[in-house]
């Protein structure tokens, strides 16, 4: 079975600075991959490369066995890749419902539409007429996740969902993940909260200074293993 997302030998640069190099990863359909690492490890860069916002300097990203190199960012949504960007990035002057409608623009068929979204996210249903700029952090994040789902993606990339949110809110947001994967959607989460990530993920992929420090099935790793990979205290081993 070919993986839904496959990254091979990926290198991304900001000018002379190498942000990512030699990244290989695969995610099978319906699974959850957690990408972990400290600030500046290259997590967000990896997601931006997958969505096409950053062009890779080398390597190959394929989605459903098709090379994405020539697919611009705004066409990747139609292929089934949706992203919840770091910092939510809602359309501030639009209402919540308008944000969701823009999210549905790719016009992909699937289970997610306004009624099903409102059913799955009662919080979002309650604030549908409010302007995105006037929402709390948790409301914004829930709206951002709902907006990404409106495109009925095959792959959702969640960038730093828990950043700046109260633990109870983070818990609520993660509680919606099973509903997303139940629809067959594959998920990549970039997360600072290691315990939260380990609790939901099938696989973990740790980055350190733009390189892979650890890749392993989530069931087999401990927080101590992750900490070692996080800070580079132990030699990065491939436990998979």
């Amino acid at each position: 079975m070919t993986p839904l997302l496959s990254v091979a030998g990926l290198e991304v640069r900001y000018g002379d600075l190498v942000a990512l190099s030699g990244i290989d990863l695969e995610v099978r359909e319906g699974q959850i991959l957690a990408v972990l690492g400290a600030n500046g490890a290259g997590k967000s860069t990896l997601l931006k490369a997958i969505t096409g916002l950053l062009p890779p300097a080398a390597g190959r990203i394929s989605f459903d066995a098709a090379d994405l190199a020539r697919v611009p960012a705004h066409r990747r949504v139609a292929a089934g890749i949706a992203m919840v960007p770091e910092g939510r990035r809602l359309f501030a002057s639009l209402t919540v419902e308008e944000n969701l409608r823009v999210g549905a623009r790719a016009g992909r068929p699937g289970p997610w539409a306004l009624p099903s979204i409102y059913g799955a996210f009662p919080l979002v249903a309650g604030i549908r007429t409010r302007r995105a700029a006037d929402l709390s952090g948790g409301e914004q994040q829930a709206t951002a996740i709902a907006r990404a789902l409106m495109s009925n993606p095959r792959l959702v990339l969640l960038d730093e969902v828990s950043l700046g949110l109260a633990p109870v809110v983070v818990k609520q947001l993660y509680a919606t993940l099973p509903q997303i994967t139940a629809a067959g959607t594959t998920v990549v989460v970039v997360e600072q909260d290691v315990r939260q990530a380990l609790a939901v993920a099938d696989h973990v992929h740790c980055l350190l200074g733009g390189r892979t420090a650890l890749r392993a099935p989530a069931a087999g790793v401990t927080v101590a293993d992750i900490a070692a990979a996080y800070f580079g205290t132990a030699a990065g081993q491939d436990a998979a």
């Binding site: 066409r75 990035r89 501030a92 639009l94 409608r101 623009r105």
Partner: protein, 290 residues
């Protein structure tokens, strides 16, 4: 005096028509199009060609010129201005300034510096009596057109799916890309609307007064003042600003005919000093509000 105020209000409609596109392009892509007035003049000459050479009626000429201007707007945005979109406003200022100079010189070569005017038939002379004042039918029609254009544009931005995407792209172009929106296409649409609306303005201007290939910069100045007075990026603000500018000019002319334009500039400077965000401007001068 009351007559001057009423005339000023009606003139304000024309200024609003000039300003709407300028405001939209600035609001959506942070781009100040210095060739905006020249596009209006270009549209005026386009209408002159249709009327004089093809012999069509002025109204039909208008219906031909507006879509042509819109197509030109899309093409100019996608082909030229898209390269200037970025964090710095300087490249777009330089490029549109250059475009303005090129347009003026091309028009001079093609049409000479002679004054032109669009025929508006018997419409020009007709007037309706309102409360003892005699109001010209043509300025009234132009004012009504301005309100209709602003209202239509406002509804388009607020209610249609394309309008929603334009507002979303204005808020965050990168996030819009993640939703499958191509910002360059959206900017092209905004430019098409801007060029189309200023073509209406150029046509209306050409029916009320004569114009030359170098009339553009003055029109740009009036549009710019209307935008600033009303509040940067506020669509209905252009009507408020246009009306205030028009009233100031007409009342100024009533007091001293030589100081008509000066009176408008003074009101502009006064607003800039007292309320720099404009009459309708809220907190930050940011968004195009429907």
């Amino acid at each position: 005096m009351i007559d001057a105020i009423v005339q000023g209000i009606l003139t304000g409609g024309l200024y609003a028509l000039f300003a709407a596109g300028l405001s939209l392009m600035f609001g959506v892509m942070r781009l100040v199009n210095l060739a905006h007035g020249d596009i209006a003049v270009l549209a005026g000459f386009g209408a002159v060609i249709f009327v004089q050479s093809a012999g069509v009626s002025p109204l039909l000429a208008l219906l031909l010129v507006v879509p042509l201007a819109a197509v030109l707007g899309y093409a100019v945005q996608r082909g030229l201005l898209t390269r200037t979109v970025g964090p710095s406003p300087l490249p777009s200022l330089l490029v549109t300034f250059g475009l303005s100079v090129v347009l003026q010189n091309v028009l001079l070569l093609a049409f000479s510096a002679d004054q032109r005017r669009l025929p508006s038939g018997s419409f020009t002379q007709q007037s309706v009596p309102v409360l003892g004042l005699s109001i010209g039918l043509l300025p009234l029609a132009i004012f009504a057109t301005a309100v209709a254009v602003l209202g239509g544009l406002s509804l388009f931005l607020a209610r249609t799916s394309t309008g929603r995407v334009i507002r979303a792209t204005r808020d965050d172009p990168e996030a819009a890309r993640l939703m499958g929106v191509n910002p360059r296409h959206v900017y092209g649409i905004a430019a098409a609307i801007a060029f189309g609306s200023v073509a209406v303005a150029g046509f209306a201007y050409g029916t009320t007064t004569s114009f030359t290939p170098t009339s553009g910069p003055v029109l740009l100045l009036f549009a710019f003042e209307a935008v600033i007075i009303g509040g940067l990026g506020r669509l209905w603000g252009t009507l408020v600003g246009g009306v205030l500018l028009g009233v100031a000019q007409n009342v100024g002319a009533y007091i001293d005919p030589a100081q008509q334009i000066l009176a408008g500039h003074l009101v502009f400077l006064l607003v800039l000093a007292v309320r720099p965000q404009g009459i309708l401007g809220g907190r930050a001068p940011a968004a195009v509000t429907a």
